[in-house]
């Protein structure tokens, strides 16, 4: 039977990677495609983005983030390095755990940004909750900066995640 502990561990890694692709793929879509394109779109066509595409993209974006952190924590627990990773492997002298731990902390900061900064502010921007025009403008700025912060953090986060198994685990 292939349904062993090792297979379940792999299955959660697979789900974790797919969720992460959904999350970071949409994060990069927002930052590399949608936001820079908005000034080039005629005003009468802008609602196609703000009323249709952005809400759908934000749905998969925030639930992708949730699924990534949940499957990641399960994976780390199943693999036996959760606690070592949380304390950045300090004292354990295992570079892999330090690398994955730093990646986990960066990912957790990004998950927090999605659920507690970007999404509450986007709800004001998209009119899902009531806000004055001034509040909307401020919310758009806050959400935009948090999204850019996550784009910035995604680079070292993925470096840490990928190097844990594919560099630090091999170099000791």
């Amino acid at each position: 039977m292939f349904v062993t502990h090792m297979w379940w561990e792999f299955a959660f890694r697979w789900l974790h990677i797919m969720s992460g692709v959904m999350w970071i793929g949409l994060l990069w879509y927002f930052n590399f495609v949608q936001t820079p394109s908005m000034p080039k779109i005629p005003d009468e066509q802008k609602p196609a983005i703000s009323k249709v595409i952005a809400p759908a993209a934000l749905f998969w974006f925030r639930w992708g983030a949730m699924s990534t952190i949940i499957t990641g924590l399960i994976l780390a627990a199943m693999s036996g390095y959760l606690l070592s990773a949380i304390k950045l492997g300090i004292g354990d002298h295992v570079g892999k755990n330090t690398a994955i731990g730093l990646g986990m902390w960066l990912g957790t900061i990004m998950w927090f940004n999605v659920w507690f900064i970007i999404w509450p502010n986007q709800k004001k921007v998209l009119g899902i909750v009531n806000a004055t025009p001034d509040e909307k403008k401020k919310a758009a700025r806050t959400a935009g900066l948090a999204s850019r912060t996550n784009t910035m953090l995604s680079v070292p986060m993925l470096y840490c995640m990928a190097s844990a198994s594919h560099y630090f685990a091999l170099t000791g």
């Binding site: 300090i90 354990d92 570079g95 755990n97 070292p156 470096y159």
Partner: protein
């Protein structure tokens, strides 16, 4: 002063610098 995160290019560049910092930090913490 302009916020560097207003530029996508600078955002990615800072990300690469942070990746280098992360590498050094991992090496130092796990030594």
């Amino acid at each position: 002063m302009k916020n560097p995160l207003d530029s996508l290019g600078q955002t990615v560049l800072i990300g690469f610098i942070l990746a280098a910092v992360a590498h050094l930090l991992i090496s130092a913490l796990s030594a």
